[in-house]
């Protein structure tokens, strides 16, 4: 794993699924150690890039010990962890940002929680602004994870990382 660090950008080379889970774990640990009450994390990348793998590492590091699966089917999967509620969303199937209404997205914004959102592009302007965006790109059969901070919460997180 190699890191390139910029002011509000961080980029990490990932060799395999295990490293991707570890990357999710690191972000989770940074949230806990910065004592953040919640965060909006947007996960971007093509099908098969490893978004759910990242999310799995993240959610399990938060203390959830069950299986973490892709929320493609149910659109949203809630996870109750000792630290905070985590909502893992997959907006791939939304044909209109207004359909966020049908995930009761309003209710999620109601509380201190962490939202991990795959395909945030589909949510458009209806989504709460991200604290941090994570963009996973293919580099041959490896991946590069680019993290960009978009808020002061995100800045604090990236500093930790």
């Amino acid at each position: 794993m190699s890191k390139i660090n910029n002011y509000n950008k961080l980029s990490i080379r990932i060799d395999d699924g295990l490293a991707m889970e570890a990357c999710g774990k690191q972000v989770a640990e940074a949230i806990v150690s910065s004592k953040l009450p919640g965060a909006q994390i947007h996960l971007m990348g093509e099908l098969g890039a490893g978004k759910t793998t990242f999310a799995r590492g993240f959610i399990q590091a938060m203390g959830y010990d069950g299986h973490v699966k892709s929320p493609t089917y149910t659109l949203i999967e809630p996870y109750e962890t000792p630290y905070v509620m985590i909502y893992h969303l997959d907006l791939y199937r939304l044909s209109n940002p207004e359909e966020l209404e049908f995930l009761a997205y309003r209710d999620l914004c109601q509380e201190n929680s962490i939202c991990l959102i795959e395909w945030p592009e589909q949510g458009g302007k209806m989504l709460c602004t991200a604290d941090i965006t994570i963009n996973i790109v293919f580099i041959g059969d490896k991946r590069e994870v680019g993290m960009t901070s978009v808020s002061s919460v995100g800045d604090r997180l990236l500093q930790r990382l």
């Binding site: 359909e99 966020l100 997205y105 309003r106 109601q110």
Partner: protein
Amino acid sequence: MRLLALDTCTEACSATVIIDDEAHSQYQIAPRQHSVIILPMIESLLAESGISLKQLDAIAFGCGPGAFTGVRLGASVTQGIALGADLPVIPISTLASLAHTAMRLQGANQVLSAIDARMGEVYYASFQGSSADDLSCIGEEKLSAPESIDLPEPQASIAQWTGIGSGWDTYHQQFLQRSEIVTGSLAFQWLEDKFPNALDIALLAKIQFANGKMLTPEEALPVYIRDKIV
């Protein structure tokens, strides 16, 4: 007349039992705990007021708008109790209940109620009246960004309005920057930290009951405001 009212639409969870002019109420800010506390809360109120469910005339509930899950919980509990105890139901708008709170606490007679809908929007409506009997909604209940809400029509003389609800707590700056208010053709004062309360729901429901406006248990349905998408 004897009435039970309950509300779980927002951060607050509350219930009230009214026996003629006597009211027994409980009110608790308890996010995510409504499903756990609502039935025990009602149970203790009934015990305190010394009546049983079967002796009630109707059950009123806050039907929304509010958090979808909370609005539905209140409707579910109302449906269940009303079916079991064979009672009619009376839905009361949370925005109207807030207007009644402003009227009850401050004697306000022109109220703009607003509930934080999250995602940068509020549920809101304007109300006028001098008592629970003649409290009426001007226009309809709506959802929009705080910068673009429809303010009440300015009157010839400067009208004193009261703002209430979590929408005001979150967005009072945006509201108060509106030109109608800045230029002084509308004057607003703002009542802080108020959530819908079953006591106001009960007091409004009393009027509905007196007017025979009751529904069957299966008609105890939520009002989401946002129920159609383009």
